[in-house]
Symmetry: none
DNA sequence: AAATCCTTTTGGTCTGACCAATATTATTGA
DNA sequence: TCAATAATATTGGTCAGACCAAAAGGATTT
């Protein structure tokens, strides 16, 4: 059964990881099931127990299994879907990301209103125009949108804030769900987005912290609404319920 | 050096992963650098080579290092950073970090007030007591303080927020200046800190978002003041000027 | 100075053993 | 009979020492 000498990698444990992933994908071990004992796997694959162990740790770090002493290695989720090269493997939902942005970017905008240099404002203005113009290319819009928001973070003149907000966008890039939903949600709403961006820029130029915070808040709230709407389209009934709960969540928070 | 017997996880290799991630974050090994040999790490951490090996494989799966036979384990990217050019989180000043925390943790506290579970609140309460008790050991207080703030982030029930705030503390750990200053600034002010923590906890229990935000804001403002004072002691004249400017900075922002 | 050989270092793997946590089975007591 | 308990088996966690192969570094030769 175990084809041992097909694609020889540098290290044996990598072969094992590949084989085990395949067995997991095959449905041989459903979620929650227990994998064979380490000693048994070692015998079956013709390797030593330390090697099996390394493979299991790799799978565990990837979130596929969970090993419990005395109990064994249990399947946590099947490989497949959200693959990507997400080294971190954070399963952050699109809603969580948007909520985090709502909180943090609003505050960052307020601070930026007091700290932005003229160069910062010019750069932000340039990006607003670019988005207004490039509304054709979806990929380009996505990139320009990120640049717009990151530019505001940079305008706080605070490296920690800049770093953290950039990280939120990295997480988003690593979450296919979030990116897809946003793209879909935005596709029909480019003009409002441009208007909202302009409102944020305006507040920054007026050096109005509260205005910038409010404008950013309004913008991201709108984004969340679009996102929730897109979600609803896909999962009609249940999603509607969940979305309502989520709306209440941040509504209650900002009340 | 690294104390090995502090926070015992289930498995030794996880302790090692944590220690090594911290050393990576500290900038001790820049990107491309070679980590010590497995045998050397084993001796240094008082574990066996297979255990070191498991930790290295975990780091490799996470994309942080790359191990090559005969050559060694090389740093591929620093922990925390998503990728791109965000590899530089080093020249983040203590003030910038504190300012970021003031903005973000205050908002997180407000959200946590609406989302925290009873378990979250119990955990936070436990940490408040622990800090009040352990005011002798400086290292323990530092760790407990981090746990307190991170627990609040976790109580938002939002993985993105939790991730980002934890990252801020990682940056702080990587900035010796910030950690030292904070330790010094706090050493004389443990009692007020405990009171402020209690106030935050109280607001969370009352499910009072605005109260929690205000309490956290007051706490971190106090921290910044202590930090600026400690800074002033070192750089008497110029620092005084700069500190005044910084005070005005966030005073204007929160006005 | 360049190419080659040799020694050292370093990771890759194995064997076999012991311990601790968990699960399983057998035993006991009501 | 059945639940609580004790004994046993299974399983992961770790260690020690050993051997091999790849890579690196230095010495030697051309």
């Amino acid at each position: 059964m175990s084809n041992s000498a097909d694609k020889g990698q540098d290290r044996l444990y990598q072969d094992l990881v590949r084989d085990l992933r395949q067995e997991l994908a095959s449905g041989l071990y459903p979620v929650g099931a227990r994998l064979p004992a380490e000693r048994e796997l070692a015998a079956r694959f013709g390797v030593s127990r330390p090697t099996v162990r390394e493979a299991l740790i790799a799978l565990e770090v990837q979130g596929l299994i969970e090993v419990r002493v005395g109990s064994g290695a249990h399947v946590r989720k099947l490989p497949g879907a959200g693959e990507g090269s997400a080294a971190e493997g954070f399963n952050v939902s699109g809603f969580e990301l948007s909520e985090a942005r709502l909180l943090f970017e609003s505050e960052a905008a307020a601070l930026a209103a007091t700290q932005a240099t003229e160069e910062d404002l010019a750069e932000i203005a340039r990006l607003v125009e670019e988005i207004a113009r490039e509304n054709a290319d979806p990929d380009g819009t996505e990139r320009a949108d990120r640049q717009f928001h990151v530019a505001i973070a940079r305008a706080t003149r605070n490296a920690a804030i800049y770093d953290v907000i950039e990280r939120l966008w990295d997480l988003r890039a690593a979450s296919p769900e979030a990116a897809l939903l946003h793209a879909k949600a935005r596709s029909a709403n480019i003009k409002p987005v441009v208007v909202e961006h302009a409102a944020i820029l305006d507040a920054l130029r007026r050096r109005d912290p509260d205005g910038a915070r409010a404008a950013m808040r309004a913008h991201l709230t709108q984004v969340i609404d679009s996102l929730l709407f897109a979600t609803e389209e896909r999962q009609i009934a249940e999603a509607r319920k969940a979305a309502q709960a989520k709306r209440e969540r941040y509504a209650r928070f900002s009340a």
